[in-house]
């Protein structure tokens, strides 16, 4: 067994990024993700990397654009209000087909909101990262180990598909410490990037990185091409975990910290003889539709446990094609559902037999 160390989720992301070959970090401090920047500030100068605290979130994301265009692994991190500021840059990165890793350690919103954990940027991450037709690969870690693993994975996916991969965590995942094994992270070497703007050496034509296409025909073509790539991602890169689903009659849908809380409730309900399981999406985009489609044939109710007013629930309803009732169990504003609250929802579903109350 690899040697394990105790690390905060935020620190695990930073260390994993360095191990993945990221040598450029640009950011602007905001709770609850500042440990990422602090870790980078300490480590990058020692390994010949760049840590730069930008004058704003907008500056940071545009610095990411610059390094990504030069073909290097690069990242930024922020929390909810800061990600909103970055959304223009996220759209430009998509328009220019540039790979990058962006971390959102979510806090309660909207507006300046609060600093406690939240999952209310689900829509923003999976559907509305900025203007225009584009997607980001959205990865939702549920442990500190996954914070590290999905960071490494995120860089690889970003490079493979020339797009932004986003780690969508929350304040709890960022602040908590758990044992993490860093030695066996599945780091992949960076692929060739013949499109990068690295100087022609007078040996090849200029590469151009740009998101402006004034010809509608050409712009349409880039959109079509991008969505062809997205279809490949949906086929090949969807990730999820099933927990005690074999004989489940009730299904919990939850990711990140909500999945951790739900596990406690599921184990308690199982001890009471209630057949309940969980589907935990690890990629929020692409959303794991297949396991939910299967669940719709098997269970009498799906309960979506979220730290939002009900955002992922829409994807759960689409995936189950409304064949079973899908109900919401939630807290918001920085509050976290307790295992007891989730257990109550399970008990209610068991009693109502799938009829919406």
């Amino acid at each position: 067994m690899a040697d394990k160390v105790l690390m905060k989720g935020n620190e695990a992301i930073a260390e994993a990024a360095i191990r993945a070959g990221c040598r450029h970090y640009f950011g602007y401090p905001i709770t609850p993700q500042t440990e990422i920047a602090a870790y980078m500030a300490k480590r990058m100068p020692k390994i010949g990397g760049v840590f730069l605290q930008a004058e704003s979130e907008i500056a940071a994301i545009n610095m990411v654009y610059g390094v990504a265009a030069a073909g290097l692994r690069v990242m930024t991190s922020s929390s909810s209000p800061g990600i909103s500021l970055k959304s223009e840059g996220l759209s430009y990165l998509a328009g220019a087909d540039l790979p990058s890793l962006v971390v959102n350690v979510q806090r309660g919103g909207p507006g300046l909101g609060g600093i406690q954990p939240s999952q209310s940027d689900y829509f923003q991450a999976t559907k509305g990262g900025g203007h225009g037709d584009f997607r980001m690969i959205v990865l939702a870690p549920s442990s500190v180990q996954e914070m590290a693993e999905l960071t490494v994975k995120g860089f690889a996916l970003a490079d493979t598909y020339r797009m932004t991969a986003m780690i969508l965590a929350d304040g709890t995942m960022g602040q908590m410490m758990e044992p993490v094994a860093l030695d066996d992270l599945p780091v992949t070497p960076m692929p060739e990037k013949p499109w990068a703007v690295t100087g022609t050496g007078m040996k090849r034509p200029h590469n151009v990185v740009n998101s402006l296409f004034l010809s509608p025909e050409k712009l349409e073509e880039t959109n079509f091409e991008r969505y062809d790539r997205y279809r490949v991602i949906e086929e090949k890169e969807t990730m999820y975990e099933e927990y005690r689903m074999e004989d489940a009659e009730i299904c919990i849908a939850a990711f990140g910290i909500a999945a951790r809380v739900s596990k406690n409730a599921i184990d308690e309900a199982r001890a009471m003889g209630i057949k309940v399981g969980m589907i935990r999406p690890i990629t929020l985009w692409p959303f794991p539709k297949a396991p939910f489609r299967r669940a719709a044939e098997q269970v009498k109710e799906v309960i979506s446990v979220e730290l939002s007013m009900g955002q992922m629930i829409e994807d759960v309803r689409l995936a189950t094609e409304c064949r079973v009732p899908v109900t919401l169990c939630n807290r918001v504003g920085g509050m976290i559902p307790s295992p007891e609250q989730v257990l109550d929802a399970i008990l209610k579903a068991a009693k109502n037999g799938g009829k919406e109350a």
Binding site: Q116, G171, T172, E178, D267
Partner: protein, 179 residues
């Protein structure tokens, strides 16, 4: 198979997060599943700091401890706030130098130790947390000097190896304390 849920709470600066981390590391060195989650927020400056620690034989679900088996209260506001949350049959450790009152609950056990006073008398006023931790481990039947030292080595950097001895002594002081 067992799971112990700890809640450490006190003033910011008393080393609450540190002892929580040490407890988690001790679990880790014993191949247990562990988690550590601090309260974070504006209340930390000069206010109450707390952290949830879970040490378990099975994977940890929620890292949030709402109902601790063991409450460690290093100041009165912590006891006032969390006394009612302790599970029946649980234990409350209180720094009696700073907490004058006893507990109101009759279904939990109270262990009092004047850790802050003892730390001051020992010439190490910043190590009340370690004295308390020594007592906690002793009461839980987990005060094994070798294991404690192994955990300490994980938390204290090699550059500050001189601190190891001092911390161990403070813990021993706590472990040896009898009311």
């Amino acid at each position: 198979m067992s799971t112990t849920k700890f809640l450490f709470s006190g003033f910011g600066g008393q080393g609450i997060l540190f002892v929580g981390k040490l407890m988690a590391y001790k679990g880790l060195t014993e191949d247990k599943q562990v988690s550590w989650l601090p309260s974070y927020g504006p209340e930390m400056r000069g206010g109450t700091a707390s952290c949830s620690v879970i040490v378990s034989d099975t994977p940890v679900g929620s890292p949030i401890v709402s109902n601790p088996d063991v409450l460690v209260a290093m100041n009165l506001p912590s006891l006032d706030r969390f006394e009612s949350a302790v599970v029946p049959g649980g234990v409350i450790f209180a720094d009696s130098s700073l907490i004058a009152r006893d507990i109101e609950r009759t279904d939990v056990r109270l262990v009092k130790i004047p850790a802050t006073q003892m730390a001051s008398d020992n010439g190490t006023p910043t190590l009340a947390n370690m004295i308390l931790l020594g007592k906690i481990l002793k009461e839980l039947g987990q005060f094994d000097v070798e294991k404690v030292e192994a955990a300490l080595k994980k938390v204290i950097s090699a550059k500050r190896a001189d601190m190891l001895e001092v911390n161990l002594k403070a813990m021993q002081l706590g472990a040896d304390y009898e009311a």
